[in-house]
């Protein structure tokens, strides 16, 4: 049994020795260098562009502008393509543009012999603009702008969606308690440490793009679409990748890079973004504004929930409304609510583009939803834990319309119990109640549900291929991508488990090449262990069947040969040739520990021996391989909870996290250590989201103000407390080997748990994140805490950090 064990990562040695080769490490030495000319306005039109001086600079090979690129608009999100026109992603982007939709939009590109020449050429390009007033707030933009951000959407509303179960208005009118709140999140960025980078060249008339992406097969399709060429003319290779978190689940500059190589005779061209470009010109997490209402009956049961969400898309559609819609769908899960309404809008503005980021709309949604849940508990006079326990959906439930999205196992209550026990919830809620003074402590919690894959909203397909090598080892190829999460390790474990051979004998190919690796849509959602895991299991079962089939043939032949020679020496072992019951012991029944065994478990043959026969037998040679392309029409909700204990310095507006735990119901863990690592990373991202991270825009110009790792407050080691991960392992009945979503969920609930801990510590409800000192000082001032606490701040009992 290797599934369920904390085996080491299969790529560990390569990574701790620095031998793992990432895209930039592989670029050939003779690569030309490409750089992009970005707009210095947020809204307008290029009226003139002069590249003549840039072209004269020594070392410049080519300058292309928006006037030179194909007049084709294409979509960029990492979604499976829809063959139904109505469901296709919005195609609103060109390789380069003269219509500027956000500060930094791509107008031109230069290709040069070296970095210096490319940078000089950018500075020599002269552009004149016709400027329009930029609009960076979606609630303003949806009233209409002149001109609209995208001509196809005159009211700037990219999409809206609405549903209602029961009657929210009626139930709210009749509710004993009504709670209302406005909640806002911030624009944040993925900050993978490897910036997006690709290099492209031509080979036998085709375009090859090597790129740091989560979605090689989708990049291939989108390059084909963007350049207007057959998709088979494109080959995409994904080496090791230095983090993605959803930013690289979008097609970024690969199509432009592909176009540029065609403009320089197929010579290799490298396009590597700076950190500043990564912030401003790739994707961000949407800022979403929520207006929420909740109605309770006199006993504290939720009777109605109403949501209005407005999501800031930025200048291009990217993943678009799918983000806000995902939160709206979650609004009808997790809690028992008879009347639910959600209305969600996604609105174009002149800001950097919103895309996918770990949790796909649910971190935004959960901040708002779990904040109002605490507000409701306070108003009902109930402990937030008891309030949730009373109102959560227990046991099996399914989405009313999207039936496969179901709680096939539901461990949310156990996650809450485990988290509360760890943080000593009851004791600390009591201990920290009614504090005064400058330093105060609090405990807070938040819970979530999260779907594993995208079915049935979108397609789920995965592929796997296995080849039995001559020595009995197995080569494994998947189209899904290892991006640091440990996918290659768990696929290796699954294969070893089903084939019952040691992990060392499984060789997984970590590089995806769309010419070679099976089709799979890539690393996104929290799908890989579940969806690609299904394909891996199917493939291993198929390979096993073929091995046993060949074993039967081989053993039969050997037996026959033995009988023939025995007959010659008159020592006949079985006159029937081996089909009689007494001789069934020769029949292969299973694989065990690298051997073929009979039903009784006796070893008949080593896998290695069989493998060599299969390659070189003069009687019947045929290398044993298996391949599956599996559509997965399943999904499962996973669950979890965060519990946090914080200390607030009111005068400084500063929160210190004293203790934090995430407890997850992600089904059965394939590799517990990798699972804990995944949880740590998500918690840290959630802490950054809750406390510090925020991409700031100049309100007048729409320019990014802090697009670097110094001013954008990415958590450092010193900002990050010790992180504790807990699990409730319920075996999911539909997920392969019992697993369900774990990749994104850890990032969801820390931010609202911190906000709710702050509410407990201070009584102040802060409804926007990050909970930065500036914001807290303003909130404490408004609540009248600050003048009072500054006056008697020294009276705060600092030794235990809290006044009880």
């Amino acid at each position: 049994m290797v599934v369920g064990k904390s085996v080491p990562r299969v790529d560990g040695y390569e990574k701790v020795t620095g031998r793992a080769m990432f895209t930039a490490d592989l670029a050939p030495g003779n690569c030309l260098v490409a750089k992009v000319y970005h707009a210095s306005i947020a809204n307008g039109r290029v009226t003139a562009i002069d590249t003549s001086q840039a072209e004269q600079i020594e070392g410049v090979v080519k300058v292309v502008t928006f006037q030179d690129v194909p007049k084709i608009s294409y979509p960029t999100p990492g979604h499976p393509w829809s063959v139904e026109t109505a469901h296709q992603d919005r195609a609103d982007r060109r390789l380069l543009t003269g219509r500027i939709r956000y500060y930094g939009d791509d107008i031109a590109a230069v290709v040069a012999e070296n970095e210096v020449a490319a940078s000089r050429a950018l500075r020599a390009i002269k552009v004149t603009y016709e400027e329009y007033e930029p609009c960076i707030n979606p609630r303003e933009a949806m009233k209409g702008t002149k001109p609209p951000v995208q001509e196809e959407c005159p009211d700037n509303i990219l999409a809206k969606s609405e549903y209602e179960i029961g009657s929210a208005d009626q139930a709210l009118a009749q509710a004993a308690i009504v709670v209302e709140g406005k909640y806002e999140t911030s624009i944040v960025q993925h900050c993978h440490i490897e910036p997006p980078v690709s290099y492209a060249y031509m080979d036998k008339g085709r375009i090859v793009v090597v790129t740091s992406t989560q979605i090689p097969h989708i990049v291939k399709r989108v390059i084909g679409q963007a350049l207007g060429i057959p998709w088979g003319q494109v080959r995409v290779i994904k080496p090791y990748i230095g983090g993605g978190f959803g930013n690289k689940q979008d097609v970024l500059y690969e199509p432009l890079n592909a176009f540029l190589t065609t403009q320089v005779g197929g010579r290799p061209v490298k396009l590597e973004l700076t950190r500043e470009e990564t912030f401003a010109n790739t994707r961000t997490r949407h800022k979403i504004y929520y207006d929420l209402k909740m109605g309770l009956d006199a006993q504290g049961h939720i009777v109605a929930r109403d949501m209005l969400a407005v999501s800031n898309q930025g200048g291009y559609a990217s993943h678009g409304h799918a983000i806000a819609a995902n939160g709206a769908t979650s609004w009808r899960h997790l809690y028992q609510v008879p009347n639910v309404r959600a209305r969600a809008y996604t609105v174009y503005t002149n800001t950097p583009v919103g895309g996918a980021m770990r949790g796909y709309g649910i971190p935004q949604y959960a901040f708002a939803a779990e904040a109002i849940t605490d507000d409701a508990a306070v108003k009902a006079g109930m402990d937030p834990y008891d309030f949730r326990m009373e109102n959560i959906q227990k046991g099996y439930f399914a989405d009313p319309w999207l039936k496969p999205i179901a709680a096939n196992t539901n461990g949310v209550a156990e996650c809450m119990e485990k988290g509360a026990a760890y943080i000593q919830w009851k004791e600390k809620r009591k201990k920290y109640a009614g504090q005064t003074g400058n330093i105060r402590r609090g405990v807070g919690m938040a819970i979530f549900s999260y779907k594993t894959g995208v079915w049935p909203i979108s397609l789920e397909i995965a592929g796997a291929r296995m080849v039995l090598q001559q020595d009995g080892s197995v080569t494994l190829m998947v189209g899904a991508t290892e991006i640091g999460q440990g996918a290659d390790t768990v696929f290796t474990q699954m294969t070893a488990e089903t084939l019952n051979i040691s992990m060392e004998k499984i060789h997984i190919q970590t590089v995806q090449d769309t010419d070679v690796t099976p089709f799979d849509t890539g690393a996104y959602a929290s799908r890989q262990t579940f969806v690609t895991g299904t394909a891996v299991r199917e493939c291993a079962e198929k390979l096993k069947e073929k091995i046993l089939e060949y074993a039967k043939e081989l053993l039969w032949e050997r037996r026959r040969a033995l009988q023939t020679s025995a007959r010659e020496t008159e020592e006949v072992p079985g006159a029937d040739g081996g089909t009689a019951p007494d001789s069934a012991s020769w029949l292969p029944a299973d694989l065990c520990d690298g051997c073929i065994v009979n039903a009784a478990g006796d070893v008949l043959l080593a896998l290695e021996e069989l493998a060599q026969e299969s390659y070189y037998s003069l009687r019947h040679s045929s290398a044993i391989t298996a391949e599956v392309s599996e559509q997965v029409k399943k999904n499962s909700l996973s669950f979890g909870a965060t519990f946090a204990e914080i200390e607030v310095d009111i005068a400084l507006g500063k929160i210190r996290v004293l203790d934090i735990i995430n407890v997850h119901d992600s089904g059965r863990l394939i590799n517990p250590r990798l699972a804990r690592m995944q949880v740590h990373g998500g918690m840290s991202m959630g802490l950054g989201y809750g406390l510090a991270e925020q991409l700031l825009l100049d309100e007048k110009t729409g320019r990014v103000l802090n697009g670097n790792l110094l001013d954008y407050k990415l958590p450092t080691m010193m900002d990050t407390p010790d992180l504790t991960a807990g699990f409730v392992e319920l075996e999911d009945p539909v997920g392969p080997y019992g697993n369900k979503a774990l990749g994104e969920p850890p990032a969801i609930s820390p931010a609202p748990a911190l906000r709710n801990a702050l509410l407990h510590a201070t009584g102040v409800a802060v409804n926007e994140i990050p909970l930065s000192p500036q914001r807290l000082i303003a909130a404490f001032e408004k609540a009248g805490l600050l003048s009072a606490s500054v006056g008697n701040g020294s009276e705060g009992k600092k030794e235990d950090g809290a006044d009880v």
């Binding site: 701790v16 031998r19 950190r275 640091g484």
Partner: protein, 160 residues
């Protein structure tokens, strides 16, 4: 020789190198492009992320904001230089594997070199000291928890 080029001599991973470098060239670019030492990663190019950390005369530096020309007469170690002759890992590399301190692996070379220099001091380290010393290396995958654990483990072993 063109004006912007300079001849330098330095020791990189124990080997004497004589190189003709551009005076505008970063040590990061020199190590990657001229010597093929691709464990040295480019994450920000302005000394914010620590992915390009190398050991220079026993101290860690961000090689992206250190000119190649300044390396004249100095001794540099990259992650490639830590391995034993038969590919043996140093203790801190093993501990990164044991503790699960590696995910995407892009920031890992910088972290290991920072940890190596810290551990060479030989002093007993608290978790806070580890955090303070290594705060110049950014990681987005791990939440740092297991990186601190790995450094703490090796430090504890050496101080027992």
């Amino acid at each position: 020789m063109p004006e912007q080029m300079k001849m330098i001599q330095c020791v990189v991973n124990g080997r004497k190198e004589t190189l003709c470098v551009d005076v505008r060239e970063s040590l990061l670019d020199m190590l990657r492009n001229r010597l093929g030492l691709t464990s040295v990663k480019k994450g920000c190019e302005v000394g914010e992320c620590g992915a390009c950390t190398v050991i220079l005369d026993g101290e860690t530096i961000d090689s992206c904001i250190y000119l190649a020309a300044w390396a004249d007469g100095r001794e540099i170690t990259t992650l490639e230089g830590l391995l034993g002759p038969n590919g043996e890992l140093t203790r801190i590399q093993e501990a990164f594997l044991e503790e699960g301190a590696v995910q995407c692996g892009f920031c890992t070379p910088g972290f290991i070199l920072s940890a190596e220099v810290l551990l060479r001091r030989g002093e007993k380290l608290s978790r806070e000291m580890i955090r303070k010393h290594m705060a110049g290396n950014l990681c987005r995958c791990t939440g740092y928890e297991n990186i601190v654990n790995a450094v703490e483990k090796v430090n504890r072993e050496r101080n027992e």
